[in-house]
Amino acid sequence: MSNSLRTVPLLFFIILLPAAAVAQQVYNTLLRTNPVLQTALIDSLNSKAAGISHPGKLGAHLNDTARQLFYKHVNAVYGPRQLQQLSRSYGMFGDSAKISSYVAGKLRGFYALRNEVDATAFMKAGAYSNRFKLLSGSAFYDNTPGAVLKSGMGVQLEDMVVIGNIPVNIVYNSLAGTSPFDKALMGQQLKKFSFDKEAYMQRMNGYLDKTYDLRKYFLGDIDVTSAVKSFASQQLTDIQDEMKAIADPLQASAFNHLTSPEQLIYLDSSQIKQLLLNDKTLQLTEADLKGDMRSGMDSISAHGKTVMAARHYLGRIETLKASVAQGLQARQTLSAQHQATGSIQQQVNDPETQKNNIKELLPLNFLQRLLLQAKSLNLGNIAASGSKGGVQDLFMSGVQGSFLNKGNFLMMGLGTTRQGGDLKDQSFNSSLDPGAYSMQFLQMGKGDINAPHSHVALMNANTKNKDYRQFNASSLKRNIFVGAFSEKIDLGEYGSITADISKSNNEFNNAATGNSAALSSKTAAFTLLNDFWQTVSVGMDYSGEWKAQQLSQRVYFNYSGLAYTNPGSPGGSRGTVRYGLNVRRYWNKRKVMVGFRTDMQDMNTSATDASGWRNRQYTLDTRIKVKKNFSLSARMGQSTMKSTGERLSETGYLNRQISVSSQLSGKLFSLTQNNNVSFGLQQMDILPMKSLLVNLNVNHSMVISSHVLTVSLFYNKDVKDQALYGNLFTAETGWSYQLGKIWSCTSGINYLDNKDVVRQVGIRQTVSASLMERLQVSVYADCRKQLMNTPQNYLFGNISTQLALNYQLNR
């Protein structure tokens, strides 16, 4: 009963703190307050150090050799300052049976050492290395008239370098190409350096494992029962020694044979007292052990001496009994702890515990410690993303890092972004939005970004007037500041809700308003609350799953003011109200699925009236798995874009679509066959064009011994004959085969007819091979003869080739 009562505060601890920290706390407290565990651990250290087992005393000490080794260990792993603190704490420990939690933690680490070699040596040996990971090259030529690039070649090199035990992945990427109109070669180089957290943890855990036996660190190897027994017998011997000093030899031997260690464990104190009273040599009465000694007893008489000895004996036994009970309780606490945080093996594998162990047991410098909290750290040409309302889907040259420590999240970054100037955008020289920004951003708060959280995000941006290759990014100078708050709430099995509010403010440089000659502030952050409703954006998103009903759903709502501007989130919209619903339900062991999705987007375009765009999208999806190898699906959808307002009110775009498709696989003529067919009707009105498109797509494949034959047909016709590219027919065949053991190939014949625009017939060949295990080669060629060609053709080239080489190093 008392045992379970004592574990209550410990369990309370476990609930309050993160599991890993609790584990450390619990083990330290146990070791700190439990003489049995302490003795067992110190005894083991002493015997390891000196080769001799010293009999344990209550609050036993490390012998000199062991202590020297302990100090040396602390000095090596934690440095001289920590050693000073330790020796101070340790001095105090000399006087009392209790050691500080600090000493207990270090002592556990020392106890868990596999051998005398410290981690320092291993960490020094592995501190620097370099490993090439991948080298890949590719080249292509494609004479499609409307392609942005006609030819190109690229190289990518991936490497991992380790500096001071910090692994960094390096990607170097170089692409070059020519446009269809110009023979000059244009190039772009991108670089990315990213801290490899996974490799870092693996590395540190490796050092941990080499140096320490973590089972010992979690006190998992102490056999508490036998430790209690040996503790009891050692203590009994001590008591017997004391008895020799205060009682005569005959009586001393009577005391000696009174209790065994087992009895000490299983008998309660009144039973032990009974043993004392029953001893014939000692001749004690119950009254002797009770009451005031001096009143009725002569302390010099022989019996008086016996009584005194007996009282001393009982007192000592009772203290010992309490320690034994505590020791036995340790067993319960340890197993309760292991139940609460999983077995030791689970703990060793838990990332949070690993982080803690690395911090506690390895000699780390400031940066290494900091990186334990890092989630990511990237530098170079990188993508950056945070929560909605802050920074999202951004590509920039700069640096970004995110950190998580004890549930506190921090993400920060800075860099420059631009709208064009990349090889992929070779044909563009300017943009409607400001072409480039330099940007600084920050997001911080409670909780990890993908978990329930409350975060504040800030973003500051300035336009940059610069040319990036052919792209001219000049714009009026301005400063934009965005402040955002985002909150994610977990609704348990019902899903989660994310809510965000974001406010932007823009200040042009050199600008004044009205007749006032005073220029307005250049710093947008100071006037963040200007034009509140025009520049605020709020959003709410609920997504969840209702398992019992096999239903999943998502509802969202978004409002953004007409002048809301966030360059950190290029996908963001302005002046819009967006809302939508997405539900999906399954029946009959997921064999039947019905999904419905609707997205509404109302975009206001006028500051003075309600003119704008009304966009509506509806989609209904069904899938039925008729048999294991046969399924049918259908999709119906409609989307419209209407302009509303005083001057213009009409439907600018209408798309109605219905499509049915089937998937069938099985054996026919003892050959495995796969068949996909889809048929669709599509009404597409883009004023003034009104098209009605019929779509048919058939794919059939057949396995013939180890070869695969595929036949594909695609047919699209505009019944109303209005769309230029609406009358396309293509037929393709492919035969896959193996050449020798290495080469796998596919050869095929193609036919294409785009009514009145182009007609082609040609061959296609792909070859791929793994050479020398590490080198993969892949070649693709599609060559066609133009049976007919017109100037309207911008889509269909007649030569397209590709070569790709991949060399994986040291994998």
Binding site: S138, F140, T144, P145, G146, V148, L149, N381, I382, D393, Q419, G420, D422, L423, K424, S427, F428, S430, L432, P434, S474, S475, L476, F508, N510, A512, T513, G514, D531, Q534, T535, L562, T565, K589, R590, T608, S611, W613, N615, K628, S631, S639, M641, S643, E650, G652, Q663, N676, I686, L687, P688, N697, A723, L724, N750, L752, D782, F796, I799, S800
Partner: protein, 366 residues
């Protein structure tokens, strides 16, 4: 639609009013009149011979509220012929906003909202007769801001079966003459962000001059690969100017019904299976069997252990080849089998020996 056409024609006619004699301006309000930055893309057709130093004053007024914004540049040299504004001129410009609602939005976003505008370009003499107007030209235009550019299909984060999918989006409205689309589609490699994939990888498709809001998968391009993920984005542009970028959407090529290959390790000899404990059959019973005789049909039957009364019929026919056979008895479509029930399979081997295999049936779920 006819109304829209008339409107555009009307606006074009209105553009060429009030031109001063010597110097004129080339300005396309349907594109350049949408933003404050766009105003600086106007070009000056200077006098035939003489050079002069002047500053440019651009005034935008809305029919509903008067002055929206006035921008005045620093002095620069006006050269003969048609020239763009000197680079760097935009950076030092002074701006004065009006007091109306439109001006407030323009001050915050740099974008003009819907309305009837007059854009006036004026060259002010900065040489000698300071402040004298050298030339002035105004353009009228009814501006309707662009609709959002929304991708439609394949839906974001969808899984599709087609390895040559057609791609659809919604058109950018209003239709500006000369506006076209560019579509880029690139593989999204593991661990890559969408924005990185678009720049680090060579695209599968990077097609411009698209007039319709759709693109058939280019027939000569290499087909998409099963299990791979792709990212795509559409850009609406006019000439060499990016008007609007769509969001980046991703999809995965994953044919849900493509049969999973059965690895040879899944087949254990029936003799071993017989000795072992209950075998768990997930939709099918699989074992290996050695046939030293000629081709034949496997003789077997299954009886229920949990429910012995239920007759089990319509079992598939299994053919045996000479040598080692990997036998698959597919029972997932057979209604006699109940999830969690025990069954016994009795096989009569070609040599006449009978083998029994007890198994637990588990229905296959996705």
């Amino acid at each position: 639609m006819k109304r829209l056409t008339y409107l555009i024609i009307g606006c074009l006619l209105l553009m060429f009013t009030q031109a001063a004699a010597q110097v004129s301006f080339v300005f396309l309000p349907e594109v350049q009149g949408r933003t404050m930055d766009g105003l600086f893309q106007a070009r000056i057709a200077g006098p035939a011979s003489q050079r002069m130093v002047a500053s440019l004053r651009i005034t935008v007024t809305a029919a509903k509220e008067g002055q929206v914004v006035t921008i005045k540049t620093k002095p620069f040299e006006v050269k003969p012929g048609v020239n763009p504004l000197p680079p760097g001129l935009i950076a030092g410009a002074g701006i004065n906003f009006g007091n109306g609602k439109i001006a407030a939005v323009v001050r915050q976003s740099g974008f003009f909202t819907e309305g009837d505008y007059e854009y006036c370009f004026e060259l002010v003499d900065e040489n000698g007769h300071s402040g004298e107007s050298l030339a002035m030209q105004c353009f009228d235009y009814y501006l309707q801001p662009f609709s959002p550019l929304i991708l439609t299909s394949p839906a974001d984060e969808d899984a599709i079966c087609d390895k040559r999918p057609s791609l659809y989006w919604q058109p950018l409205l209003p239709a500006v003459p000369g506006m076209q689309y560019r579509l880029i589609l690139t593989e999204l490699k593991q661990g890559q962000a969408k924005a990185e994939a678009l720049r680090y990888n060579f695209p599968v498709i990077n097609q411009q001059y698209i007039n319709m809001p759709m693109l058939f998968f280019p027939p000569s391009a290499r087909a998409l690969e099963e299990g791979h993920e792709y990212v795509w984005q559409v850009t609406a542009y006019r000439g060499d100017m990016i008007l609007v970028n769509s969001e980046m959407w991703s999809f995965k090529v994953k044919c849900e019904d493509s049969a999973k290959p059965v690895t040879p390790e899944s087949f254990r000899d029936i003799k071993d299976l017989e000795k072992g404990n209950f075998y768990v059959a997930r939709g099918k019973v699989m074992f290996a069997l050695q046939n030293i005789y000629a081709k034949t049909t496997l003789q077997y039957h299954i009886t229920g252990i949990t429910d012995p009364k239920k007759a089990i019929k319509k079992l598939p026919e299994v053919k045996l080849e000479h040598g080692n056979n990997h036998v698959v008895i597919d029972i997932s479509e057979n209604r006699a089998f109940v999830d969690g029930y025990y069954y016994q399979l009795t096989v009569k081997l070609p040599d006449g020996e009978e083998k029994q295999l007890r198994f637990l049936y588990k229905s296959e779920t996705e």
